[in-house]
């Protein structure tokens, strides 16, 4: 029973990593840019929701606050691309990597200045409630995380493969110039996908903050989610989720059964091993450029 309990809390954690990873992969799939600030987006989304919900701030109803904060983060993502990244269009990937790292620092600072560096948790109507069945005690928050993550991943998978906008996004990343010729508004598509990934970040943030306290440095969790995305294969949506789950499961198991200190190293050690032996990740999507 103990083991199953461990697995389930690991799954819930893994889903949060998976959701953050989903945010990067969305952006990477459509724009070929890597957002190193995705973890900070998640943190910001959580704090926006806390600002709407918690009684010491605005004290809105939780079910009203969640869509509101998702909208706010969507707008934030859209404007982030429109205001900053669009000026980088056509520049090297390296500068975009550095730019997003720097933005992460700024977001972390801003969140600390607005909401303080104290760990805060989100006041949810389902806090502390359990589902009990056959000796298992499942927190409602954990179950909700798993369901929402699975639904979102499926929705985005279908979105990319079935809808016109999704196809336009794929086209925009496969060959920007050709996409332009086909009449795809590449820059607007980029802003749109940044908005989407802001929304996913908000969802991840809300789910994470309902499970435990967060503070501005929680954004560094993004690095673990990065490992998740790379383990799954950068650019693959189910891969992002799978990578997140692997890391989420390995962490509690390593800290329970492994020697001390291993649980912090394990995710990155897996990442390095994957990069060395199967460089493209589990669902590898890369091929070597041929001349």
């Amino acid at each position: 029973m103990d083991f199953v309990q461990l697995i389930i809390s690991g799954l819930a954690n893994g889903c949060v990593y998976g959701l953050i990873a989903l945010g990067f992969v969305l952006i990477y799939k459509a724009t070929e840019a890597v957002n190193f600030a995705q973890g900070d987006f998640m943190m910001l989304g959580a704090f926006v929701c806390i600002g709407f919900t918690n009684h010491e701030y605005m004290g809105l109803n939780f079910w009203l606050a969640v869509p509101l904060s998702i909208l706010v983060m969507g707008a934030f993502g859209y404007l982030f691309n429109w205001g900053i990244l669009r000026h980088m269009f056509g520049q090297s990937q390296t500068s975009i990597v550095i730019l997003t790292i720097a933005m992460g620092f700024i977001i972390r600072f801003a969140a600390g200045a607005i909401w303080s560096h104290e760990p805060t948790s989100l006041e949810t109507p389902y806090a502390g409630q359990d589902i009990r069945s056959g000796g298992l005690v499942l927190g409602v928050d954990e179950v909700l995380i798993v369901i929402v993550t699975a639904a979102l991943t499926l929705a985005f998978f279908l979105f990319f493969s079935r809808t016109r906008v999704g196809l336009a996004m794929q086209a925009a990343s496969q060959n920007q110039l050709a996409a332009y010729y086909m009449g795809i508004p590449v820059k607007r598509i980029h802003s749109l996908v940044w908005g989407l990934s802001g929304m996913v970040a908000a969802v991840a943030g809300v789910l994470f903050a309902s499970k435990g306290a967060i503070d501005p440095s929680t954004g560094l969790l993004g690095i673990k989610a990065f490992a998740a995305a790379a383990i799954g294969g950068f650019g693959s949506l189910p891969g992002a989720l799978l990578g997140g789950l692997i890391i989420g499961l390995v962490e509690p198991l390593a800290s329970r059964y492994g020697p001390p200190g291993v649980s912090q190293i394990a995710p990155y050690a897996i990442l390095l091993l994957i990069l060395i032996f199967r460089p493209g990740g589990i669902f590898s999507q890369t091929q070597r450029k041929k001349v």
Binding site: G90, F105, I223, L271, T286
Partner: protein
Amino acid sequence: MRFVFKTSYDTDIRLFKHRAQATWYALLLLLVLATPLYFVAIGDAYLLGEITGVLILAIAGMGLMLLTGHTGLPSLGHATFMALGCYLNINFLGAGVPWLIAFPLSGLIAGVLGTMIALPVLRLHGVYLALATLAMSILTGDFVVIAEPWTGGIAGAAVPDINIFGIEINRYSTPYKFYYLVLFVAILLVWFYRNLLRTPTGRSFTAIRDSEISARAMGINLTRTKATSFFLSATAAGLAGALFGHSAGYVTNETFDLVMSITLLLMIVIGGLGFIHGAFFGAIVVGIIPVAIANGRSFLATTFDVNINVPGLESALFALILVGFILFEPMGLYGRWLKIRTYFELFPFYRKDMFKRQKSYLKTDRVQ
């Protein structure tokens, strides 16, 4: 206006473009050689220690510049190579190896180990290299703790003094000697770097940065060239790490953390990606910012009675400067200087778009 008539292909790759340039660099050399005299005169070597620190950062910056600025591969893990160089140096010195052998050896071993880690990832897109080095950088602190017998773990390790043929060099007791030592290493590396860029190897680095596909079409072995670049880069970082250890005197598991790796990257961007000068300019900025913030704080506190004590202000300010540079001056400080100089050299024929870079349209290398 100056006209440089090119009468042979060698003119293009000469170390100095014309006599005036050589004169300026000779003057600069004299200046840096004479700097300690000023501190001898005022009898306080504190600032000289800071200048030495900037030089050490610049050495590490040159290493990263070769990789990121000239080969176009981002690395978020150069602090790891600094840590490798530093701890190897400590252990060699502890085992009784003379400094003159231990120092270059630790740099070389750091380079070899770094290349071994990076080799599999070098075949892939640059983003994967950023990721792998990021993971490496996060693990560094943990590995230092695990390898306690060699590194001292959390308690840290003291760095022995340098001894070259009986001359004892220590950062605090003999700051002038230490300055000259670091300066010598820095100049040696600049000389090496400058010459490297004139060789076929160095030029193939730049070719890879500008277009992997064209580079390959020209017959450049991508993986081998990238690995060479990585090796040289990690070696320079290892040497800088060894010197950093001597300058800090004491290193723990928290010395070479992720923030240091990122600082190095930010440094070369602010200085100017793709220019050796950029590493030095960036190091100067990184050296000045904390001092400027501390001074600004005490100025506000004494003059306006305003106390600003927000955690993370320093890194946020740093990040803000960086974002400003990337958006408005992607060529960095050195690029700005280059533009100003060209403006006056060509006066009145400077055009606004002279330094405009050609935009490229992205293509994915994924199969979908």
